[in-house]
C-alpha cells in the first residue's frame, strides 16, 4: 500500500523526493492547481514574471523546489485540485472536480502548511481587508495589489516582507503598523542573528521600506478600520497614547501564522499548546512521527518553523516512513537533517519572541466587535455566554462555547476566529488560554458539494 503525502509545498516536495529515492511511488494530493505550496506558489499559465521578481531573495530556493518536483513528477501519483477533506484509519477522503474518492494509505505525511493568525478589530469584515498572506497571494498569483493605498497591520516577519514586496512591485504602501516594539526585536537580536541570512533579510526589508519613505509605526494599538461598505481608513494609537488615522482603501492584516492541522486532528493525533508559538500544535517526535500509527507530520502544518525547516522536516518524515516500512535508512542524511532541524528551532524561538502574538489585544476586543466573521457573532456574545453558563459548567472550554454561541461553527470552522475566540474566553474566565482548549476539527475540513453515495 502506498504512501500518501498531503500538500505539495516545500515539506511535501522534499518528502516525495526521499520516498522516490527509495523506489516508492508516493501519491501527492494538493488542493491547489499546481505544486509549490504557499511561499513557492506557482503563478498560473500565461504569467511570465521571472522567479527573481516573484520570490525575491528566495528565488533560488523556489526554483530548486519547482525543478525537483518537475523532475519527479513522472514518479509521483500527483493529484492537484484535490481536497483531502477527511482522514480515517488508512483512508483519506478526497474530492477533485466534484468527484469523490477515498485513497488508502499505509503511511501518510501531512504537509498541510499554515494560515494567517488574525485578531479582529472594528471594521475588519469590510471589503478591502485581507489577510497578509492573502495580500501576498494576490500579488504573487495574480499580479494584483489588494488596493490603491494599502496599510499593513499586525506583526511578524511576513508584515515587513509583504509590505516590501508590494512597494517593490509598484503598489502604494500607505503605512506599516506593527503591534510589536522595536526594542523587543532588538533584544532578540542575538537569537535572531543565529538565523543568519533570514535575520539580515528581515532587517533589509525594514531598512528598504524606511529608505523609500514608507511610514512604519511600532508598538501600535490598532483601533479600527473605517468605511461605509468598503475600507476608507485605518486608525491606531501610538505608544504615547496619540491617535492616528490614515486614508487607505485596503488593509492587510496578520499576526503570525497558525498550523492548518485539521487532518492531523481527525487522525486522532493529540495536540499540545506551544507557549512560544502561542499555538496548538499536533504532537510529533523530532522525526515527524505521531502517536498515531502510520501518520507523520512535516512543515508548518505541524508547528510554524518556516520554509527552510519545512523542507528539512519533509525529508526527515519521509525517512521515518521508510524506517516504518522496514526499508534502508541513510543514517548520514538523517543526522544532517536532525542537526538542521535542531539548529533552526533556536532561531524560530527567537523569532517568535521578537514578534509575540499580542494576546492582550485579542482578549481586550470590544464587546461590539465582530469575532466570528462567518456568522457575525460579537466578542460580547461570547463573553455573555461564558459568564452565564460556562463558568458554572466545567470544563469551560471553546468547544462548549462554540455550541452555545456558534463561534467557530461557521463555514471556516473557526480557522479565522479560533485563536482570538480562545483569548476572549480565557480572559473572561480568568484562566490561561491553554485551559480553554482548542476548537476540534470536523469533517469535511472545508465545505464540499453534497457527495455522491460512494463517499458517504
Amino acid at each position: 500500500m502506498s504512501v500518501v503525502i498531503v500538500g505539495a509545498g516545500p515539506a511535501g516536495t522534499r518528502a516525495a523526493e526521499v520516498l522516490i529515492g527509495a523506489g516508492l511511488r508516493p501519491t501527492v494530493i494538493d488542493e491547489a492547481p499546481d505544486n509549490g505550496g504557499r511561499i513557492y506558489q506557482r503563478q498560473p499559465a500565461g504569467f511570465h514574471r521571472v522567479a527573481r521578481v516573484l520570490y525575491g531573495f528566495e528565488a533560488d530556493k523556489a526554483r530548486a523546489i519547482h525543478e525537483t518536483f518537475d523532475r519527479l513528477r513522472a514518479s509521483i501519483d500527483f493529484r492537484p485540485r484535490t481536497l483531502a477533506w477527511n482522514l480515517r484509519p488508512g483512508l483519506i477522503d478526497t474530492i477533485c472536480d466534484g468527484k469523490a474518492r477515498a485513497i488508502p494509505f499505509a503511511q501518510t505525511i501531512l504537509c498541510t502548511g499554515a494560515m494567517d493568525r488574525v485578531i479582529p478589530l472594528p471594521g475588519w469584515t469590510l471589503p478591502g481587508v485581507f489577510t497578509l498572506g492573502g495580500a501576498q497571494i494576490s500579488l504573487k498569483a495574480q499580479g494584483c495589489a489588494i488596493g490603491a493605498r494599502v496599510a499593513f497591520l499586525g506583526t511578524g516577519p511576513l508584515l515587513y516582507l509583504v509590505a516590501y514586496q508590494y512597494a517593490r512591485a509598484g503598489a502604494h504602501v500607505a503605512a506599516v503598523l506593527d503591534t510589536t516594539a522595536f526594542a523587543r526585536k532588538a533584544a532578540q537580536a542575538f537569537g535572531l542573528a543565529r538565523g543568519g541570512a533570514t535575520f539580515v533579510k528581515g532587517l533589509y526589508y525594514i531598512a528598504w521600506l524606511r529608505a523609500h519613505g514608507v511610514p512604519i509605526a511600532e508598538s501600535v494599538t490598532p483601533l479600527a478600520i473605517g468605511g461605509e461598505g468598503q475600507v476608507q481608513s485605518v486608525s491606531w494609537r501610538d505608544a504615547r497614547g496619540t491617535t492616528h488615522e490614515v486614508a487607505v482603501d485596503a488593509v492587510a492584516l496578520g499576526f503570525g501564522l497558525r498550523p492548518e492541522a485539521q487532518l492531523a486532528d481527525l487522525a486522532g493525533v493529540p495536540f499540545d499548546f506551544d507557549p512560544v508559538q502561542h499555538n496548538w500544535v499536533p504532537r510529533k517526535d523530532p522525526s515527524g512521527k505521531t502517536p498515531v500509527a502510520g501518520v507523520f507530520l512535516a512543515g508548518d502544518g505541524s508547528g510554524i518553523r518556516g520554509a527552510d525547516l519545512a523542507e528539512a522536516a519533509g525529508a526527515r518524515a519521509a525517512w521515518s516512513v521508510l524506517a516504518a516500512r522496514g526499508l534502508a535508512v541513510d543514517a548520514g542524511a538523517v543526522a544532517r537533517l536532525d542537526a538542521q532541524l535542531a539548529a533552526g528551532a533556536a532561531f524560530r524561538a527567537a523569532l517568535e519572541r521578537a514578534f509575540p502574538f499580542p494576546a492582550k489585544l485579542a482578549a481586550g476586543m470590544a464587546d461590539d466587535t465582530i469575532l466570528c466573521r462567518c456568522e457575525a457573532i460579537t466578542a460580547g456574545e461570547l463573553r455573555a455566554a461564558a459568564n452565564e453558563t460556562l463558568a458554572t459548567l466545567p470544563p469551560p472550554e471553546v468547544n462548549r462555547a462554540k455550541a452555545l454561541t456558534r463561534v467557530g461553527m461557521g463555514r471556516c470552522q473557526g480557522r479565522v476566529c479560533g485563536a482570538a475566540a480562545a483569548e476572549v474566553l480565557a480572559s473572561t474566565l480568568s484562566c490561561p488560554v491553554e485551559e480553554v482548549g482548542r476548537l476540534r476539527g470536523q469533517p469535511p475540513v472545508k465545505p464540499i458539494p453534497i457527495l455522491p453515495a460512494e463517499a458517504a
Partner: protein, 94 residues
C-alpha cells in the same frame, strides 16, 4: 477598494457577466480577481454584516462564495475565470 493590476496585464481578455452585466477580465484571473478589479464586493453576509469581498485568498475563510451558472456556488478565490461565465452575487443561504 479595487484590486490594482500591477503586472501581467498582457494576457488575452475574457468576457463574463456579473449579475447580468457584461464584464471583462484576463485569462488566468481567479473569479475574485476578475470581479474585484472591477467592483467592490463578492457577496453579502447572511447574518446582516453587509458586503464581503473575501479575506484569505487561500480557500480557508469561505467568505468569497459566488454563484456560477451551471456550477452552483464556488469559492471565487480558487476558481479560475472562463470565457462566458455567468456569475451572480445573490444572497447565499446559510
Amino acid at each position: 477598494m479595487r484590486l490594482q493590476r500591477l503586472a501581467e496585464t498582457d494576457r488575452p481578455a475574457v468576457s463574463f457577466t456579473l449579475d447580468g452585466r457584461p464584464m471583462a477580465a484576463l485569462e488566468g484571473d481567479s473569479l475574485l480577481t476578475a470581479i474585484l478589479t472591477e467592483d467592490t464586493y463578492l457577496r453579502t453576509n447572511e447574518f446582516g454584516d453587509g458586503r464581503r469581498a473575501g479575506f484569505c485568498l487561500m480557500g480557508a475563510c469561505q467568505d468569497c462564495w459566488v454563484s456560477v451558472e451551471g456550477s452552483g456556488r464556488v469559492r471565487a478565490c480558487s476558481t479560475p475565470i472562463t470565457e462566458g461565465m455567468r456569475v451572480s452575487r445573490g444572497t447565499v443561504q446559510p
